[in-house]
């Protein structure tokens, strides 16, 4: 059944969120975001199959492109942060503190 695929995507997405909110390691956070994108992709593709149109797949393709871009930028930022602070702890960056 197609909805099983969707349920899988929900589960992966939630695990991705869990990663974002529970980890302080910036690498893990970045990868969790990738995971969430993947979950979204899965939903797109599943819907494409469900409706038998290919637009969902196109969107998935674009998400892949965006994810690649995001990964590149994210990694660049991580390098920068590491160079500036020497740490990978996201708690070090607290400029938003009120």
């Amino acid at each position: 059944m197609i909805e099983d695929y969707l349920v899988l995507s929900v589960i992966l997405f939630c695990i991705g969120i869990l990663g974002v909110i529970s980890r302080r390691n910036v690498f893990t956070v970045l990868m969790s975001i990738e995971l969430m994108l993947n979950a979204a992709n899965l939903a797109f593709v599943a819907f494409a199959r469900l409706n038998e149109t290919m637009d969902g797949q196109i969107l998935a393709m674009m998400v892949i492109a965006v994810a690649a871009a995001e990964a590149a930028l994210g990694l660049a930022v991580i390098i920068l942060l590491h160079r500036q602070k020497g740490r990978l702890d996201s708690n070090v960056f607290s400029l938003l503190k009120g």
Binding site: F13, I15, S22, L50, I58, A67
Partner: protein, 170 residues
Amino acid sequence: MYIDTLFSIFALIAIAGSLGLVLFRHPMQSALCLAVTMISLAGIYALLSAKLIFLLQLIVYAGAVMAMIVFIIMFLNLREKDLPEERERFTYLIGGAVLLIPVAWFMIKVMKSIPGVKNSIVGNGFGSIKELGQVLFTNWLVPFEIISLLLLVTLVGAVVLAGIRRESND
């Protein structure tokens, strides 16, 4: 029938991989877990008759992106003492899980309410490169162009961010 079996196997591997991603302390281990998840997702795409996406998932995601991440992790040469101490990690995990249960439950409920069909392989070129390409370059041309622009911007941005600064700029 074999599709469902395969899906179950892939799904389990994907979930296990993603849990590994979240739970492992060292990013290298997490990255490898993520790669596992991605590869199993590629399998699932194949089950959904998305041939091109299957390929892209393997090449771009599991290949290029993961390689880049792994490369950077190794490049930074992370040791145990560089890693943040995350003693409260499990508190957050449990708390987050509790928070996410209603979210997941709601979303699953929504998904379940969609009238489903039995999954089977769809023929006559569904998801193949040519058909996909035709749709992409007729209906989705402008978004495609924008995406390419985005990639260009990203390229420049990444260079600017990670590039070597002169002393005077600091």
